[in-house]
């Protein structure tokens, strides 16, 4: 693993102002780095600010303060065109693959759309992408609509779509939380294969401590808008220092 920083969140803050209610500081001066080829898990409970931070990293939400650097570019200072170009290097995978895929497009159309930057050899590349995500024989799936696929297959198509942009960082927000344990292992292995082959980095946003521990190199624990603990996954989740991490880890029912 190279040590070059790929994504740098520097003192990022975001406050939501709600009518008739006190402002909500969802993210408070958070700093976090994801290096080239690294897997970082962002762990926390609902309302901790982890998804807001993910959206800020993807440029879907402008931060109130701080900087987001991707691949050496400050995303907040880029022109629209430059932002679009830089941002393709960073792709999301969402929790709900059904909602992420247009139901009226076939797999071929969904993948073709994602190849907009360089639309040559589209058919062959679509097949290549499907094979990369373990959908074989790929040709069989090209003309399927999302509703004709199983949940696991839909998640694979949505991953293939993200890969079409040849990203260097994939930000996955709870990619497994709707999935059964039998599908969970398949998707995690797929993500590992992709990393092996393409050297992508992952920022995985998850509430699942056991997955974070087994999947990530490093873990950052978020609570009430702040990163309270960050370090090697095994260390943070086996011998946590912060009281909240200790409480979180203790609450997970474990199979002996």
């Amino acid at each position: 693993m190279a040590d070059a920083p790929l994504l740098v969140l520097d003192q990022v803050g975001k406050t939501f102002h709600r009518r008739g209610s006190t402002p909500l500081a969802a993210v408070k001066a958070v700093s976090l780095t994801v290096h080239v080829g690294e897997i970082v898990a962002l762990v926390g409970e609902s309302g901790s600010g982890k998804s807001t931070l993910g959206r800020i990293a993807l440029g879907l939400l402008p931060p109130d303060s701080g900087r987001v650097m991707f691949d050496g570019h400050d995303l907040t200072g880029l022109s629209r065109g430059d932002f679009r170009r830089v941002r393709t290097g960073m792709q999301p995978i969402f929790q709900d693959s059904t909602a992420a895929l247009n139901p009226r497009r076939t797999v071929r159309q969904l993948l073709t759309q994602a190849l907009w930057q360089n639309p040559v050899d589209v058919e062959a590349r679509c097949i290549g992408l499907l094979e990369d995500v373990g959908m074989r024989p790929a040709a069989r799936f090209l003309d399927s609509y999302p509703h004709e696929l199983s949940g696991g297959q839909r998640q694979r198509v949505s991953i293939a779509r993200s890969l079409a942009m040849e990203p260097r960082l994939i930000i996955a927000d709870e990619p497994l939380s709707g999935a059964d344990v039998s599908i969970r292992g398949q998707v995690l292995n797929l993500l590992l294969d992709i990393q092996d082959k393409r050297d992508v980095a992952y920022l995985m946003i998850t509430h699942d401590i056991s997955i974070a521990r087994a999947f990530a190199h490093r873990v950052a624990v978020m609570m009430q808008g702040e990163v309270v603990e960050v370090g090697p996954a095994d260390q943070v989740l086996r011998t946590p220092h912060h009281a909240y991490t200790q409480r979180l880890v203790a609450a997970v029912p474990v199979l002996a």
Binding site: E45, D180, V181, S182, Q186, A251, V252, P253, L255
Partner: protein, 288 residues
């Protein structure tokens, strides 16, 4: 693959299914969601029904309370016995008298089972009234039930949307307890909750079972929760119960390959090849 139960022969079966088969019927197809399922829950026992989505576990749970969708489903074979009484062929009206007592149920998403425009206190009072018609005691009983689930008395004035997910699940529990059930069927009661809230609700359930002597049938996909909460377990796979027995025994020496795979996958650990465990094949057959 069944093993001897840890329960003494003296304890009475509260709920039983015998070789139950349930089918979903549409105009042009029939899907069997549950096959040959025999389950028993004795008084005071904590039992789990484990499986993945589509395994048929929620279908069984609904059948146990007469909540199967009318017209599109039917019990094709077998019997359901509650407190020794055969309820298999009960009419909706007969079920109405049965619901909440002796068997009550709580669900995964409390919000869809609570009336959004009624205050919490009223909704709990409704369940109290079903089994105890004296109005004088009603208010006191509502307060008592709120206390039982560790909610402040002031929660009675709240509407469902004003409460957190964990508090809503407590309200659903209070409503269920209002009927003084001998058995609580809990269908994925903590699946939508954060782990720390889940731990609180599970501790509450354990406490309630001990204080009230209530039995529990926990429907869950989470093997960690089952391991910690249930003495016995039934494992469902593709509409069938493939393994049953004492939880600790099943988990330490599973007999069915599916159970073995499920346990490995649930541990979310990597194997010697640095890969995550998977279970081969496509497991879902029907909707859950």
């Amino acid at each position: 693959m069944s093993r001897p139960d840890a329960v003494s022969a003296a304890s009475r079966p509260l709920l039983q299914t015998e070789k139950l088969e349930i089918a979903y019927v549409s105009r042009d197809s029939t899907t069997v969601a549950v096959r040959d399922a025999s389950i028993v829950v004795h008084e005071g026992e904590s039992v789990a029904l484990v499986g993945e989505s589509g395994s048929g576990k929620s279908t069984i749970a609904r059948a146990m309370l007469g909540l199967l969708p009318e017209g599109s489903s039917r019990i094709a074979q077998g019997r359901i016995l509650i407190d020794g009484q055969d309820v298999t062929a009960y009419s909706p009206r007969q079920w109405e008298g049965m619901r909440g007592h002796p068997v009550a149920m709580v669900f995964q998403d409390p919000l869809s089972y609570l009336n959004p425009v009624l205050r919490i206190g009223k909704q709990i009072a409704e369940s109290v009234r079903r089994h105890d018609r004296s109005a004088a005691r009603e208010a006191a009983r509502v307060t008592e039930l709120l206390e039982l689930v560790h909610l402040p008395a002031s929660a009675a004035r709240a509407y469902p949307h004003e409460l957190s997910g964990g508090m809503r699940q407590r309200v659903l529990l209070a409503i269920a307890l209002g009927c003084r059930p001998k058995l609580l069927i809990a269908d994925e009661p903590t699946t939508a909750l954060d782990v720390t809230t889940q731990a609180e609700i599970l501790a509450l359930l354990k406490d309630l079972r001990q204080r009230l002597g209530m039995a529990m049938l926990l429907i869950s996909h989470d093997l960690g929760v089952v391991w910690e909460e249930c003495e016995r377990a039934y494992v469902m796979f593709r509409s069938r119960i493939v393994e049953s027995g004492v939880t600790r025994q099943i988990f330490s020496a599973p007999q069915h390959p599916y159970t073995t795979g499920l346990i490995k996958a649930a541990k979310a650990a990597r194997n010697s090849d640095n890969r995550f465990e998977t279970i081969q094949g496509e497991f879902s057959t029907a909707v859950d």
